[in-house]
């Protein structure tokens, strides 16, 4: 402003400049507000997803002894109550019993055939020989064996036996309650979550979480489009004032501030949502239908900075290197670039035309696209993993009853749009700078 007063320009220009600055400042604060809201919503979303993952996590479903115990007790019930011997099995058992009885009879006979020494022994032998006809007894064996098996197999007895077994099992079940550590963990987390969201059942909690996630996602999109609208207004102002060379410097500096806000939001808002789950595990086990649904393996949103964090925490050196590279392309380059465009426009000629400043002001912008590309490729490789489903669909096989890991719901998030807009906006600003710079741009 000082320079404009020195040159004592017409009052009108000063007013226009003031208006422009004030207008842009208002717009800037709007953008800042939207960005702030977006940032907060994104955080909230992350928390909700964390909770949702906790509730639907595989360790509380498929990997939980409690869940299995419920299902298995049904199976045991079924097995014990409906325990049946097929006619074939009955026949086999009967033969077995018969054989044993025959063997015993033979043994007894052979004992009797021995010559007794004592008088009483002789009398005994005589008595048995007279009164007992072994052939008649042997003839009765099959009927006897049959009666025995029938006794075991009769419904009343079976109920008695199964009651005994079930009683034992139920007793076990009761004493086992606190052995399962996932159960206790599940209990405490779910009660906490129920309390937090003021719900009473898991279905209700799921519904509530999904509903809030839905609401947040529409809101974040609304805010991100509002931010983009601010940027478009700024670009329209450029078009509008393209002939007013005197306003260019102010406009440019203000535009840079817009870019900084975009960058900050783009870096911290979630940009990709990774969702890996086992949709259903569906089978019949010993005659009982066992079904596990929606087993969440992984459900998180990540911002660029989170991605960097994940990569840097990897044990491999090259992964860390890539993390650092993303950091450089997403923070270091953009910040340097924006600063350098400012310096190039406002600084002394010697500084403005230094190779470093010129490179960053005009050539570095596109390298931030590397991050965009990385996320896009990752998205295609991980997120659109419908390969198996597609292949099965081509073969006319229904896949909903098959157990598979799906990552289909992986999606891009508003932070990504904001970051892309920042990169493009930066490139446009470089192009604009090329036309308005007082210095040599090349």
């Amino acid at each position: 402003m000082a320079s404009t007063e020195k040159d004592s320009p017409p009052k009108k220009t000063v007013i226009i400049k003031l208006l422009l600055v004030v207008g842009l400042a208002v717009l800037l604060s709007c953008e800042g507000y939207f960005g702030y809201r977006l940032h907060n919503l994104s955080k909230q979303q992350e928390e909700l997803k964390w909770d949702y993952t906790n509730v639907n996590n595989i360790t509380f479903g498929l990997f939980s002894v409690e869940q299995w115990r419920d299902k298995i007790s049904a199976i045991i019930n079924h097995q014990v109550r409906d325990f049946k011997l097929t006619p074939y099995q009955i026949k086999q058992l009967q033969t077995e019993v018969e054989q044993v009885i025959y063997a015993l009879l033979n043994k007894a006979e052979s004992l009797l055939e021995k010559k007794p020494k004592s008088l009483s022994g002789k009398i005994k032998k005589f008595a048995v020989k007279t009164f007992v006809d072994t052939d008649t007894i042997k003839a009765q064996v099959p009927a006897f064996a049959k009666a025995m098996i029938a006794k075991i197999n009769n419904p009343a007895n079976k109920i008695k036996i199964s009651n005994l077994a079930m009683g034992k099992f139920n007793e076990l079940e009761k004493t086992n309650v606190y052995i399962d550590s996932t159960l206790t963990a599940n209990d405490s987390t779910t009660t906490l979550l129920y309390h937090k969201y003021q719900v009473t059942s898991r279905e209700e909690l799921d519904r509530k979480l999904l509903k809030s996630l839905d609401r947040i996602s529409t809101q974040t999109y609304a805010y991100s489009f509002a931010m983009l609208a601010c940027i478009i207004i700024v670009l329209m102002l450029w078009w509008f004032f393209r002939k007013r060379v005197d306003l260019h410097a102010i406009l440019f500096v203000m535009s840079l501030l817009f870019a900084f806000i975009l960058l900050a939001v783009g870096l911290t808002a979630s940009m990709i949502e990774v969702d890996a789950r086992i949709k259903s595990l569906d089978f019949v086990f010993l005659g009982e239908h066992v079904l596990f649904e929606n087993q969440v393996l992984f459900f998180q949103s990540k911002s660029i900075l989170d991605v960097v964090e994940v990569l840097i925490k990897q044990p491999e050196v090259d992964a860390i290197l890539v993390g650092v590279l993303i950091l450089v392309f997403s923070i270091l380059f953009p910040v340097t670039k924006l600063t350098c465009t400012g310096i190039h426009l406002l600084g002394k000629k010697s500084v403005a035309e230094s190779r470093f400043v010129k490179y960053f002001a005009f050539q570095s912008g596109k390298w931030s696209m590397a991050d965009v590309i990385v996320i896009a490729i990752l998205m295609v490789y991980i997120g659109l993993n419908g390969l198996l489903e597609n292949q099965l669909a081509n073969l006319n096989i229904k896949s909903e009853f098959l157990t598979m890991i799906t990552t289909n719901n992986t999606a891009l998030q508003p932070g990504y749009i904001i970051f892309i807009s920042f990169v493009l906006y930066g490139l446009v600003l470089s192009t604009i700078l090329k036309y308005i710079t007082p210095h040599d741009a090349h």
Binding site: I397, I420, H439
Partner: protein, 451 residues
Amino acid sequence: MSTDQKTSKFKRFSSANILLILGLTVLLAGEGYFGYRLHRLSSEQEQIKEDYSLSNNITFGIFSLDQWREKIMAVVNGQVTDFKISPAQKKDLQAQVETALHGLITKTIQEVNKPQKSIGGKLKKFAFKKFVNPDELQALVPGFSKTIIDKVSSPASLKRLKNIATSKLDQLETETYDSTNVARTKVIKTLYKKYHINNANAYDKEIKMRLTNIRTVTYQYAYGMLGCVALAFGLWFFMRKQVHLQAILFIMSLLFAVVLLSVGLTASIIEVEASLQTLNFAIMGEKVEFVNQVLFFQSKSLWNIITELIQQSKPDAIVVGMLMLVFVVIFPLLRMIARGIHLVSPKKIAENKVVKYLAFQSGHWDMADVMVVGIVMTYIGLNGILKSQLSNLNFDNAYLHTNTVNETSLQPGYIIFVGYVIVAYTLSYILKRISPHTHGPNLETLPKEKG
């Protein structure tokens, strides 16, 4: 050959031209052929691997209850059929039967010894006391119990008992199933038909053989393509003094670059394959093993990536796809066309603002080089994350042994794409030196006007 009629000097030049063009055309055709083969092989490889990952998918392996049932049942059935009663077990059993019989006898004697009221009862008691000596009876027990045990453990009896057990197991087996078997049978049938094969071993062998063949040959074609390009640029270096040939050379080089770009775009760039090589554990003393379980497979070319993004239903994915299309495909192509136009067309068109902007100034919109860096970053990042995730699945203890394999690799398509970027850089450098027109933005007066 109308040029033949012209002056001899021209004739020499034109014959040199023709020779050069012929030579370059042959090279170009060679490059094109290699590129075409590479493209075909790359998609064939993708297809085979997709089929392989389908048939070996974890859904049809570890995630399939039917598979588990078969393996476990084999073990249990084996246990039942190999069941034998050892002498020690026999002795134990006999002792148990003996105790039971002793108990039975004692109980019977007690029953008889109870005071009897009826005459008949009294008579019976008397007779019993007279004829039966309890000690004698007890002494008979070991003999009888041996008879029972011998009978039960005789081969015929064991066979019968085993029959009962296995038939019960079969009954349980039929009550346990999921829907993978039907799907798996269908998949395998289709694939066997496709590869003209009828068993699993042959299938594995065929797939392995085809893949090994393709792998060596694709790299040969890739190097063949790059060799052609290198030769063309060798010529360029050779002819750097022959100014009149440079225009032709440049146009031909642009064609080389276009071929590189199109092959680089359509051949697959990164292949991700995570699999569980072996998972084995012991159950009832027998080993249960799952091999070659594909957890995840993806192989894509840049063109696939772009089209898949554009085909998404979500607008943000479409936008990203479009951006990649514009920056990685359309801008590079436009720039090459503009360079060609700039060099050969009359001054008026060559100096056209759009042509000049595209040929010289649009570098920061052409993101093929960024793509090269981006692909490498994705590859390393993906590789690192997969490696650490898979290493979490590696167990090696007394009960469970697993071995995971991460076969994520850059594919020949990437090499070709890098080749394109290098060629594009070189061409833009060359164009700046040989352009007959003004091109330096230094001469542009625009900034000065504004300043």
